[in-house]
């Protein structure tokens, strides 16, 4: 099959051509202005943040050197060689680190669960369609906002002063941040539910709490669980650095290894953390798919 393209007469084409060129050049102009502004902001930011490209490039070897160094054994039979030549020497603190990692996981778990329970209650109070009254809703929303905007490590810093060193402030910091983050996500889920069951229950004279329990919870529970698992994943990463400010977990040992230049320990702890995070990610991903699948089936 042959096809032919109809070609407009030249005078009509010229008008279209001119319009096209005008549109393109307008867009180009916009792009160049945007680009110029961006580069300007970049330079200003560079000056404020004391970026020195020259020093950076002359010192770049230090970074590769550092990475190489942390993967080199310091002592033992295979000193000076790649860490995998003597894994036993490399992982000399394996038992201690695993114990700390377990503590890290528990911090994340207890913090997530506590925060999730708080978020669960506040989601119903703050969701636009469910809130018992607008003042309560407004206050609940602001509180959640505050909880999630202040970084958890800042809470941890303050809690360490109040509760003393150890995992307790870490758990509380994670719990507060999770409270805010999950409260918001839960409320968003609750705002998207089907309101008919709620209407039905209200018509039978059910109280607010009964409505929530029998009309809303069955609709949102699997989504809530999925978000809580996702938050647990995030919190495991967060708990791993809580030790930096003295709030328990593996972070304490990591910060010590980095500050005191125990090179091979840095890589050993990092590898353990990354492996743990990956395992948690994979298993929660499976669980979440299972949960979401369950939701779609029913």
């Amino acid at each position: 099959m042959s096809s032919a393209v109809t070609r407009l007469p030249d005078h009509q084409l010229a008008a279209h051509g001119a319009a096209y060129a005008e549109a393109v050049s307008a867009k180009r102009r916009q792009l160049y202005i945007g680009l110029a502004l961006f580069i300007l902001a970049y330079i200003v930011a560079g000056i404020v943040a004391e970026v020195r490209p020259a020093t950076f490039f002359t010192n770049l070897w230090r970074f590769t050197d550092y990475i190489g160094r942390i993967f080199t054994l310091e002592q033992g039979a295979a000193a000076g060689r790649f860490v995998l030549f003597d894994p036993v020497e490399w992982m000399w603190g394996f038992d201690k680190w695993m114990k700390l990692l377990w503590e890290t996981l528990l911090i994340a778990y207890v913090g997530t669960l506590t925060g999730a329970v708080g978020g669960f209650v506040f989601a119903f109070l703050s969701a636009r369609n469910l809130t018992p009254n607008s003042t309560v809703g407004f206050l609940a929303k602001r509180w959640l906002e505050f909880c999630r905007t202040v970084p958890e490590i800042v809470f941890a810093l303050i809690f360490v002063v109040a509760f003393g060193l150890g995992p307790v402030p870490g758990v509380l910091a994670i719990a507060i941040h999770t409270f805010g983050a999950l409260g918001k996500q839960f409320a968003e889920v609750a705002e998207n539910i089907d309101m008919k069951p709620v209407d039905g229950l209200t018509a039978t004279g059910a109280t607010w709490a009964e409505c929530m329990r029998f009309a809303v919870v069955p609709q949102v529970l699997s989504n809530f669980a999925s978000y809580a698992l996702l938050r647990f994943e995030v919190n495991v990463r967060g708990a791993a650095v809580m030790g930096f400010v003295g709030a328990g977990g593996i972070g304490q040992d990591l910060v010590e290894a980095i500050r005191k230049f125990y090179y091979s320990d840095v890589s050993a702890i990092l590898v353990l953390i990354i492996a743990t995070v990956m395992i948690i990610d994979l298993s929660t991903e499976r669980l979440r798919h299972h949960l979401i699948g369950m939701d779609n089936r029913s």
Binding site: A49, I153, A162, F163, V168, V241, I258, R259, M278
Partner: protein, 293 residues
């Protein structure tokens, strides 16, 4: 709604036919015991692990009570937020500018560096299993390391100061953006690049004119979205000495200057809110109101 709920005709009718209702809807009135047992077991497991966690992590009531008491005291001391002198305020303001600059440089430099890597790691651009697998694993590993850890590492490489913070955010975001970008590229509509191939365009033409126009607005939106969360991260990397307001915050908490602490937190909250507004506006301008995630 004037009628007392218990006397509602619907309720009375339902009550009269209670036995019939139970018989007709057994699955609601008598849920299967297996399901009940399973739910009970899951709840018991969650609660058990929680209790075990509380014991292992040294929770005790007396400590919690004194801690909460102290916290209440801190809150009292925090009011009103104040930086003491104007000079101090300007010191903090400068640190805040530094924080925003760190976030800006870290975010956008990471985006620029991640752009080619995103293409390399996308299955539909480089259909090579080995390249795909390796690039994904490397990116995942970089992403698995927290910003604070990167900050500590860079502080020991380039020394204290905001530059270490920029590099830390750059590293953490590089991993993140490479992953997001490659996923966006893989999700791009391939018809455009097929069309270009059919007119005789090469592989690079296909990428430049077929894929790039589709994904660039998405990239822009993602980068702007993370600019806000990076501003938040940039406020804390100062805790390990990588510049920005975090340094002052950690210091003021340690020396128990509560009014300064609350003023600093307030300044951070306001800044994050402003950045959030600006980046949301820009994102809407970029991708249109509806497509916002």
């Amino acid at each position: 709604m004037t009628m007392p709920a218990t006397d509602h005709p619907l309720r009375l009718a339902a009550r009269a036919d209670r036995d019939g209702l139970i018989q007709r809807h057994p699955e609601i009135f008598h849920p299967s015991p297996m399901r009940r047992i399973r739910t009970g077991l899951i709840l018991a497991l969650l609660a058990g692990l929680f209790a075990y966690g509380l014991v292992v992590l040294d929770f005790d009531v007396a400590r919690l009570v004194t801690g909460v008491g102290k916290l209440g005291q801190f809150l009292w001391f925090m009011l009103p937020p104040s930086t003491g002198t104007w000079a101090k305020f300007f010191v903090y303001l400068h640190a805040l500018a530094e924080t925003v600059a760190i976030a800006f440089l870290g975010t956008f430099t990471a985006a620029i560096v991640a752009l080619p890597v995103g293409f390399l790691a996308a299955k539909n651009v480089v259909p090579n299993v080995v390249v795909h697998f390796l690039s994904r694993r490397i990116v995942d590993t970089i992403r698995g390391v927290d910003e604070l850890i990167w900050a500590l590492i860079w502080v020991s490489v380039v020394g204290l100061g905001p530059f270490a913070g920029v590099l830390a955010l750059l590293c953490a975001n590089f991993g993140l953006f490479s992953k997001l970008f490659s996923e966006a590229i893989e999700a791009a509509d391939r018809k455009a690049s097929e069309g270009i191939a059919s007119t005789g365009g090469g592989k690079l033409h296909g990428i430049r004119f077929g894929i790039l126009p589709q994904v660039l607005p998405i990239f822009g939106s993602q980068v702007l979205y993370f600019f806000e969360s990076n501003t938040r991260s940039a406020t804390i990397i100062g805790i390990v000495g990588a510049g920005g307001i975090g340094l002052h915050l950690a210091e003021q908490i340690r020396v128990l200057e509560y009014q300064h602490v609350s003023a600093l937190i307030l300044m951070i909250l306001v800044t994050v809110a402003i950045i959030d507004q600006v980046s949301t506006r820009l994102r809407f301008a970029l991708i249109g109101e509806r497509a916002a995630p």
